[in-house]
């Protein structure tokens, strides 16, 4: 039976009891992502904060419909990313993407990925990789939009400062 290699206990726990679920106010940006092959969807909100002059992840809230892998993945992601500086979080996200594309999960960076390394088993099933990535892609998109918005604001204030 190879099932256990994909459905690690941590994944099933997060599926049954998702962390940080529910849409919360206030938020900076909201995105809605869909996996067109199965109809799984996630609505995800990002709130950023200033941490010593660097943007950081204040909150990630979401509402999602989908399989155990997509649900558990977004739940594990919120545990990992909330509180991190955005640059660090982006790094974790890049490492998760790399893990999903590695096929055998051999290069998993446990220090950076924490519980997310349990998704290594998913990487062996190409049809399920999109499930695992759904929430992460939504977070990246929402965060990029939030940075853009705050970038515009700070550019504006710089201009003001210059005059």
């Amino acid at each position: 039976m190879q099932l256990e290699s994909m459905y690690q206990e941590i994944i099933l726990d997060h599926y049954r009891h998702p962390h940080h679920k529910g849409l919360r106010e206030p938020f900076d940006t909201q995105v809605h992502h869909v996996n067109p092959t199965c109809g799984d969807e996630v609505t995800l909100r990002v709130t950023l904060k200033d941490a010593g002059g660097e943007p950081a992840v204040a909150d990630i809230s979401y509402d999602a419909l989908g399989c155990s892998i997509s649900q558990a993945s977004v739940s594990v992601m919120t545990d990992l990313l909330i509180g991190k500086q955005v640059s660090e979080a982006m790094d974790v996200s890049a490492k998760f993407l790399e893990l999903m594309r590695s096929r055998d999960g051999a290069e998993a960076d446990e220090d950076a990925l924490g519980d997310a390394v349990v998704f290594a088993g998913v990487a062996k099933y190409p049809a399920r990789i999109k499930c695992a990535l759904l929430g992460w892609m939504a977070w990246k998109d929402a965060t990029a939009q939030a940075l853009e918005t705050s970038g515009e604001t700070s550019d504006g204030s710089n201009d003001d400062a210059g005059t």
């Binding site: 994909m6 199965c38 109809g39 799984d40």
Partner: protein, 416 residues
């Protein structure tokens, strides 16, 4: 008479292989694509090894052989669906292309009295595959025509209550599935075609799920266009069919322009070849058409009534076994009348992806998702479903393996 499934299975080499670490393959995904018998595989190989040439344009012996084999494929397909005129059979790459061909051609100003434009109505149904939805949406967006649709009853039948409103003097075409790829429902196409014709409308039938089971007589059906695809009926991928009444094909403007679809070409204009070649631009999937001919031979050599009875037995058993599973909801008719061999279901507390993963781990191949019928799933209030579909090579043991696998999934995810 019973179908000797053991003999049939020997014709399908892939059914011998194992998957996921040595488990025998239980292939219950034929509505997605069917497996191919040795006879088809050998015909395609033989074509490439001995007869390969371009068709209708190579003046040598190989060209003659290739052309004859390709056109024989057309004749075989025509006879298989009850047409005595093979020029009514247009080869396409799949049914999506067949439907797009009709939608584009009828949206063209050159379509004359057939033309669909502003003020006209196009009628589809909520149980259509995306292939029979999106081309009509595109047509309506291009032309300003209005898209309307039949709803679906909770039992998975077409809701006919507003048929008189839906099919009216503004209706130009009604496009409808013969058999739903999700629900298995066989629609009352002949009745709808009669109403459409009385209103002066054309009728297109998506027969991708019915032709593979030998359920097609274009004369009796009463449609104007029938589309289907080769790979779901033991044939190769890359070859599909549009059947249409000859006078419509003559009147319709071409869809794709290019080589071999012309009669004469000047720098500023062209005239076109007669149908079906008017609609076959460029080098066609030749070996695939030949392979489809072999698939038709394969099916024709079986007693299709016996095949049908065998498939009905499998569906009866599946409906029975699945109906006994707690938390399992079958989408579509639970009785055999007017029902084909796709059985879709949801399972309380387990997402279809997870169900299919557990089944796959046991060697049982099904499809999970919205099966290219997203609006239908919305109508049923579900995001996705798991679908098992049965074909001539499936066995009662495989239906048991499906039911066992579903119970296993419930155990694994601790639903029961």
């Amino acid at each position: 008479m019973n179908l000797d499934v053991a003999v049939i299975r020997k014709d399908f080499p892939i059914l011998d292989r194992t998957v996921r670490g040595g488990r025998p393959l239980v292939y219950l995904d034929s509505a997605n694509t069917s497996q191919k018998p040795r006879q088809v595989i050998e015909t395609v190989t033989d074509f490439y090894e001995r007869h390969n040439a371009n068709i209708h344009r190579a003046n040598h012996e190989l060209g003659e052989e290739a052309t004859a084999a390709y056109e024989d494929g057309r004749i075989k397909v025509a006879r298989f669906i009850g047409s005595s005129d093979e020029t009514e059979v247009v080869f396409t790459k799949n049914i999506s292309e067949a439907i797009n061909l009709v939608a584009y051609s009828l949206g063209n100003a050159a379509a004359g009295r057939l033309r669909i434009g502003e003020g006209d109505e196009v009628v589809i149904t909520e149980m259509e595959h995306h292939s029979n939805i999106v081309p009509w949406q595109l047509l309506c967006q291009r032309t300003g025509a209005r898209l309307r649709w039949f709803g679906v009853t909770p039992g998975g039948r077409l809701d006919m209550t507003n048929v008189d409103d839906l099919i009216n003097e503004r209706t130009k075409i009604v496009a409808i599935a013969h058999q739903s790829n999700v629900l298995g429902t066989i629609n009352p196409v002949t009745e709808i075609a009669a109403r459409a014709h009385a209103a002066g409308a054309l009728v297109l039938v998506d027969a991708a799920q019915s032709v593979p089971h030998g359920l097609m007589d274009v004369g009796a059906l009463g449609a104007d266009f029938v589309g289907f695809t080769g790979h779901k009926m033991c044939g190769p991928t890359g070859i599909g069919v549009l059947w249409a009444r000859r006078e419509l094909l003559e009147e319709m403007p071409p869809f794709l322009g290019g080589g071999e679809m012309i009669e004469s070409v000047w720098m500023d204009r062209s005239t076109y070849a007669p149908p079906p070649h008017k609609f076959e631009a460029g080098t066609m999937p030749i070996a695939e058409a030949v392979g489809l001919g072999a698939a038709v031979d394969y099916l024709t050599n079986l007693d299709l009534a016996t095949v049908r009875a065998h498939e009905q037995n499998l569906v009866r058993r599946a409906l029975q076994l699945l109906g006994e599973i707690d938390g399992l909801r079958i989408l579509g008719p639970t009785e055999l009348a007017d029902r084909g061999s796709a059985v879709s279901f949801t399972l309380e507390g387990i997402h279809p992806h997870d169900v299919s993963q557990v089944l796959d781990d046991r060697g049982v191949a099904v499809r999970a998702g919205h099966h290219c019928a997203w609006p239908l799933h919305r109508a049923f209030g579900v995001q996705a479903s798991t679908r098992a579909s049965f074909y001539l090579y499936n066995t009662a043991d495989e239906v048991e393996a499906l039911a066992d696998g579903i119970r296993m999934a419930q155990k694994f995810f601790r639903v029961t």
